[in-house]
Symmetry: C2
Subunit: 215 residues, 2 copies
Amino acid sequence: MSNDFADRLVAARSPRRETKSLIYRHALRLFARHGYAGTSLREIAEAVGLEVPSLYTHIRSKRELLYDLMEFGNRDLLDRLARSVAAVPDDRPLDRLYLLVRENVISHCRHSDQTTVVFTEIRELSDDQRAKIVALRREIENLFRSALEAAVAEGVARPVNIAVTVFGALAIGRGAATWYRENGPLSPEEIGDLYGEQVVRGVLAPGSDWSSPGA
Amino acid sequence: MSNDFADRLVAARSPRRETKSLIYRHALRLFARHGYAGTSLREIAEAVGLEVPSLYTHIRSKRELLYDLMEFGNRDLLDRLARSVAAVPDDRPLDRLYLLVRENVISHCRHSDQTTVVFTEIRELSDDQRAKIVALRREIENLFRSALEAAVAEGVARPVNIAVTVFGALAIGRGAATWYRENGPLSPEEIGDLYGEQVVRGVLAPGSDWSSPGA
DNA sequence: CCTACCGATCGGTAGG
DNA sequence: CCTACCGATCGGTAGG
């Protein structure tokens, strides 16, 4: 009697890793398209091929599901940005800034669902959850901030307002996620190059010379 | 018997202009804060001091309410932008670009609820409604586009990608709406000046000279 | 502008 | 992983 009811129940209750990943993938897509409040657990369950109660084997609640997606999305972006300037020496702050802007644009284009959710749905989180996400955002901002501060300190950038400039640079990438299309005329790398150059030239000190590191 | 039931009914059914304006005002605030899908008509009614069915004296549906807000928001922004460059001659395209970026930033800071709703909730509209809003957006983009094209044609701006640059300039203003605070250290005008200068310098042709028209 | 009410749908639980 | 089901809430209507 190895196939009796209890066995089948245990098997059905054993969460599969692939299922969890499917849930996250579809939830991200649906949240990006219709918003958190505009997406029901029924829609997520249907996309995955499950009934709603089965989702609860893998998630604790709809809100925790959103939080997990937002945390992953921000960590992922932070990692990409940190890696993009890991090899650039500290004494080339404008190159660092250029590459950060570029990578930010590329990441937002390539993972636009991720960044749509990350930036739109922060209001849906609890205070505790939001505080953790904001802390991750601060780390991302600090990468830009330190590059720009160094550039100003070295005199290769004008003495611009650091925070305002960093927010602007980040907003450009977020904006790109809203209009970038995979079959459009420009690749994420090309768009990243264009914006990277514009941001750096926008802060360049009058006498300074600079050309993009890739060129 | 001038105060009988029929009279009171007629009086109660006569929509007041102030009430409609109150509904729009509170709906805008609540949609900006909690999103369209995350805001119930009950919440709007309560904020105004009515019961839900009374809203229907003033609106046709929740979605039409959203559409009206989005159309007004975009027309309002378009008007402000057009007015900001109305007095600037065509042969000063960089000044026009500067003032458009500046006014866009100022408008987004001063009416952040308006622009939050305008940019976040377009997915909630019907196809017909969305087409009309997109047409308004095109008009706004075209103001930036023609200034930038003229600057490139005159050789005072580098031959940048027009669409990409315009989207970036617009995104900066939208971003400002998310972090600007009334009691912060910078006024909308100051932020507008900073971004206006950065965008123009970002596209400035290497040999060209330019300083902001206000300075 | 209100009371009374509708069917539909929501996130989530009990229990196997 | 499912069926059966919960109370709460949704946008909207009837009717005065």
